[in-house]
């Protein structure tokens, strides 16, 4: 019934998870992974509904990625599949609030943060892809490419500046350095890598 699905977990992800557990304990890791699972489950459900096959699942330092033969999807369909992840997070936050009545604030918060983070209009994230798909759908792929690039660069640069500012003002918090590096990479990335990955 289900097509064979290749699951790959990168060494970087294992290292990151190990560090996270050392720094914060098991509980937040479970919370984060739970929220991530909800997110990916949202994507997966919509992809299944649209009849696309999920061919692989990759866990890396940068997050989880579902591999799919999205070539057959329409712009609208792909847009829906992309937005399904954050939507699943938002719905699960609402559901948890309604059912648990504030008993698991951390899970609600993790879902909300993951939702907001993924909606940033930076390309590898859902927000960036949604922006590209929407613009490409309405004004053509070239316009979509330009819009996604500029939005990604500006947002990532702003994010990097914000993180840099936080590090500067608190005089430490080196755990934010990878985030700063990611922000800088994202802001410069699309201009180096040519068309797009």
């Amino acid at each position: 019934m289900f097509p064979p699905c290749r699951i790959r977990v990168s060494g970087g992800f294992v290292l990151l998870a190990g560090w996270f557990v050392l720094a914060n304990g098991w509980e937040p890791l479970v919370t984060v992974l739970g929220a991530a699972a909800v997110h990916e489950w949202g994507h997966w459900v919509l992809l299944r509904m649209l009849g696309a096959e999920v061919t692989g699942f990759r866990l890396s330092v940068l997050g989880a990625v579902l591999e799919t033969d999205s070539g057959r999807l329409s712009y609208g369909g792909e847009l829906a599949a992309v937005l399904a992840g954050p939507a699943a997070n938002l719905l699960s936050a609402l559901a948890l609030t309604a059912v648990a009545k504030g008993r698991w604030p951390a899970a609600v918060g993790a879902n909300l943060i993951l939702c907001a983070f993924n909606l940033l209009p930076i390309r590898p994230l859902d927000g960036g892809r949604a922006l590209y798909l929407l613009t490409a759908w309405l004004a053509g792929p070239a316009a979509g490419e330009t819009a996604a690039r500029w939005a990604g660069t500006v947002t990532a640069a702003a994010l990097a500046a914000l993180i840099g500012g936080v590090i500067w003002t608190t005089g430490g918090s080196l755990w934010l350095l990878p985030a700063l590096a990611a922000g800088l990479y994202w802001s410069a990335g699309p201009w180096f890598s040519g068309t797009h990955a």
């Binding site: 936050a93 918060g109 943060i113 936080v166 430490g172």
Partner: protein
Amino acid sequence: MTSRQAGRRLMHARARRRSAQSVRSGARKSEPLTAKDLRLMLRLVACGVIFVALVAAKLLLPARMADFNQQLSAAMERNMDVQAVFSAVGRAFSREEGSGVAEVYEAVFHPQAEATQTGATLPEADLPEKMTTQTPKLQDGAALDLLRSFRAVPETSAPTPETEAQSASNLAYVLYSQENLPEGVSMEQAILGFDYCAPVVGTLSSDFGYREHPTEGEERFHYGVDLAADVGTEVRCFADGTVTAVGDSSSYGRYCVVAHEGGYSTLYAHCSRITASSGTAVNRGQKIAEVGETGMATGPHLHFELQREGSYLNPVYYVSAL
């Protein structure tokens, strides 16, 4: 050894992969490196360079590296509580759910102690607030470090100019917040409301605050100032008052306590002899004792403390030391 082994293993793996690839692509042995191999090689070279550079830095500049290591680990420890951030966002969201727009507005624009900004903004946006809870600890450590660094000056060189001692005490005043002081200590510069004079005109040899104990060798709070002077130098009363105690203790040596108006009292310790007797009224500037090195002292000096209703004040503001 291990790194070399790892390197060899990596090389081996690469060689194996390349051979597998070349077999797959038709055994072209003389072909230049593929892009993938080149990337792998570059990665290996970069790792090697970083490794060698770090080892070289550690061997060549051990003190600098130890210092850097300490700074780095201190900065790393200033971490955020991920669970707390999640919880704060979650609670803000839950509160939002149960109530109207007014409360949402309040949660976002007037964040209380717990409520951080909602997840509607960037996830990083609610981090700075978490930081503020960490900063007192940070200041504490920094203050202590700074104090340790300047404290060494008046101790090693005996004739310290007044300006330096004064600036040091001012620095202490700025650095100390109420949180990292021992109980019953106030760094405020109280306005006494009566005339006073320095009990001894001498060198300030030890300041009010944390210091390494001269005989015990550990970090302790010094509740007074030490004014170095020759044995027999007269100790004059700080202000008008009544002698409430004259005594001899293993740590203070021969000492006396004078009560002044407004709940203030002063203590004069390590004296060679006390000339005033308990219960008598004394005037400002009157000789009450002579400088000595009785009790736990490493040289002749007057240990002078100033208290207001049981809490210790920094006497340095009222003592014009040389």
